[in-house]
Amino acid sequence: MCLEPSKPLGAQPADLPVAAAPSDAEILGRPDEALHVESVATRVTSFDQYGHGYQSQAGPLLGAGSERATIFEPQLEIVASQGDRLRHVLTVPVDVVTAASPDAIDHGPASADVVSGASRFVVSGTIDWAATYRASAESDVSMRAGLHLEEPFRSWHGGLATSRAFAGGDTVVALSALEVFDWFDRFDVTGHRFGRTQRSSTTASAGVTQVLTPTAVVALNYGITLQRGELGNTWNSVPLAGAERGPELLPGERLRHALVVRASQFLPWNGAMKLYYRFYSDDWGLVAHSVEAQLMQRLTPSVYVGALYRFHTQTGVDFFTTLATPDRALRTADSDLAPLDSHTIGGRVVVDVPLAAPVRALHFELGYERYVRTNDLRMDVVTCETGYRF
């Protein structure tokens, strides 16, 4: 049985090397320079989170407080081409979060919701625009810019990237740089606002993608990120000896390294296996390993199913504590920075239906994931995507 896949809606051209080939313009003549929408996709995801962490004050004075939250996340992606060399991708994710926000602080003198009840909500949104210019059949350059808006938080990012194909497209080398600047309100642990603070994150990365065989491809990527400024959210608290809570005290700089290996192998029974490994290390003392395996199986030319398992383990930062002495220079009780293991298990169904013009394909995807962390955090994730290719 040979099941040829439908034309994918969500195919990522950057994933696979593309060899030198005649362009549309060379075949069809001068291209139309107008903006053509190639695809529109929307995804809606809900996160239902339960758990406790020592940074939260929604619990006993010196114990772990609630990290209960529900998050509703709609996303929109529009891909458009302009001529045969320029391609735009506009992405707009929105988060509606029922907790983890100091939304209440600006409206009253009392404590913040994250500090007390962890029950208010905040809406945040991002606009991200990436434009890729194909300089030649082997190389392209891209620019990315965006803005993030959240009630106590503003963030801007911009980046440049380039890639070049070698060996008939078997090998693609990519370089990228990204700068993120965050500007946000500073609070104390009792929920009072003290002006504004900021941080910057500068990332540089290099990667190579290699086609190994007609059924296997592998990618290797290394990246480094330097962060400076206020590196916490300012309202996280730390239980202190003496039956009180104090603020988190973090270094003003953090240098992060990550090495990622990805591999994808087509399987003879119309399936695919994808493997992922990530090594992470930073100068706060946190070392992490993440591995993930995905198995896909095509059921019909238009339908495939997938299952995934991910395991993550990390050592925690050097200054993590659940009960600090008041004189410690550095301290955090943030459960995200603690030694922990996490497991994710999930599955999805994907349908790509070819249609007649003007809509050439319909894409539908439904997925579920269960995320469990060993330091008392668990989450159910349901996600659904629909999209159209024109």
């Binding site: 994918p8 969500g10 195919a11 990522q12 994933d15 696979l16 080939a21 995804r43 996303q75 992606e77 992405t91 994710p93 945040s124 963030s155 990012h157 060996a167 497209g169 078997d170 990204l178 993120v180 965050d182 946000f184 941080r199 994150s201 990332t203 990365s205 086609v211 190994l212 007609p214 059924t215 296997a216 491809v217 592998v218 990618a219 990527n221 290394y222 480094i224 962060q227 916490g232 959210n233 992060r256 990550a258 990622v260 990805r262 087509f266 399936g271 695919a272 990530r278 992470y280 946190l286 992490a288 993440s290 495939y304 993550h312 994907v350 997925g367 989450m379 994730v381 996600t383 995507e385």
Partner: protein, 77 residues
């Protein structure tokens, strides 16, 4: 136990080396149909990748470094 682990590590390394060395021959364009299958995408669907990355970045202290942003949103990184 240690010898068994060492043997397993060598076996995995040998298999990986064999797999990688197979890339010495160029794969012609007309034999890349399987590579173009959407199931084979190394990074997957863009929206799915973005929402999964945010999930892990905001719940594990190991974000950033691999071309993705560390910062921007939530104030929790």
């Amino acid at each position: 136990m240690t010898r068994a682990r060492a043997f397993a590590a060598r076996a995995v390394a040998a298999a990986a080396a064999t797999w990688l060395l197979s890339a010495c021959a160029t794969v012609p364009q007309n034999r890349r149909a399987h590579l173009a299958d959407p199931m084979m995408g190394l990074t997957g669907d863009a929206l799915d990748t973005a929402r999964r990355q945010k999930l892990y970045d905001t719940r594990e202290g190991a974000a950033g470094g691999d071309g993705a942003t560390a910062g921007g949103g939530c104030g929790c990184q």
